[in-house]
Amino acid sequence: MRNIAVLAIGVLMLLIQGNVFRFIGTLGPYAVTPSMVLPLVIFQGVHEHSMARGALLSFALGYLTDILGSAPIGMFAFTYVAIWLLARVSAVRLSAQTIPTRMFLALLFAFLESGVVLMLLAIFGSDPQRPVGIFSMVLPHALTTALVSPPVFHIAQRLHQGQSNVARGGDGNGIA
């Protein structure tokens, strides 16, 4: 149930992201859309106990991003699994409790996400100039992602707490 809920939230975030992209796209060529799904992936990496579930959810969110975002198949599926793994192994659980630390995490991982995407494009892409052109968007993308991350983290946390309460018989002590 939680998996479906996370995926549903992921689809919702992607749709919001798509509409934001459409709106921001009218403002100028260098306007950058935040990644609304990335905070969900980070949250899975930081808070999800089950490694299999976290990896599968990250993969699914990445695959949905590829499909809905018209990205090359595998681009975000790979990137989000990698980000999830990095978040998990870097053990930043304690630092993901407050809004500033969450924003910092989102900023950091948005840079990493951009780095991975640029690297993949540089390795496999047919146009070598494309990663160079996209490079200027890394910083604004990371900043906007950090700005929108708190509410996404909040939603993910509520979802996580709700499911933890259900799993524990509703004792109200979820992981935060």
Partner: protein, 288 residues
Amino acid sequence: MLAPFRRYRDTALVVLLLAVPFFFLRASIRQPEKMNAIDRTLARVAAPIEFAASAAARGVTNLVGDYGYLVDVKADNNKLSYENAQLRSKVSLLYAVEAENKRLKNFLGFKDSLAPETVSAVVVAKGTTNYFRVTRLTLDRPAPTIKESMPVLSLGGVVGTIQRIAGDKVDVQLAVDSGFGVDVIVERTGARGFVRGTGNEEGYDVYVEYVRRDDDIDVGDVLLTSGFGCRFPSGLGVAKVTEVIKKEFGIYQRVKATPTVDFSRLQEVLIVLDQREDCVPQGRPAGE
């Protein structure tokens, strides 16, 4: 017991989840001439999966898109309703302008049909009662020759005569005022009479005096100016007969009429400036 197995399983799953998209990505964005057999196989395997996933994603986006479209429709509907209201208002305005245009054209034609020199004027003020007796005009152009008692006409016929003049402002004594009088003939029979305002505060009506008892006059007959007094040109509508009381004795019959001009809607008028020098006022027949 299961913990080490689970750990290996999870690790293998993570590696798989990293490897699969990596190779699929490699197969999907690599230049076709650089693709090897593995890439081609992966692309072939991925194609139906991608197709199914894309179809599902399209379904979701279409659903949301349709909802967004409905929201847009609502917004468009509000916008169009507003535009519709504005256009209705403009159409009403244009109707009014068209009516005014038509009225002014008629007025112009009427003005041209009058031989005497005239000056047009616009009604700017009326009495405060429902059935006012005097109305105020503003002349459209200076008219130094304008004088009191000059006739005032409109499309409907006789309006009245000038009572006071102050610059380009003129007060008109309407035909329904008790001080007003004009010689008339019955359009249908040529019978003569003299229209005089009743001064009635509760309606617009006039008396027709001096209509001989044996003259043919009936309700609905139109009374026209006779021109005998030399003030008004002949043939202008003055009133329409509403009541005829034939007495069994006396010389005249009692006739009531309503003016042909609708004073409540009076907007533009003409003042006849030139009094005909050659006109000789004719008196009424002996005994009248």
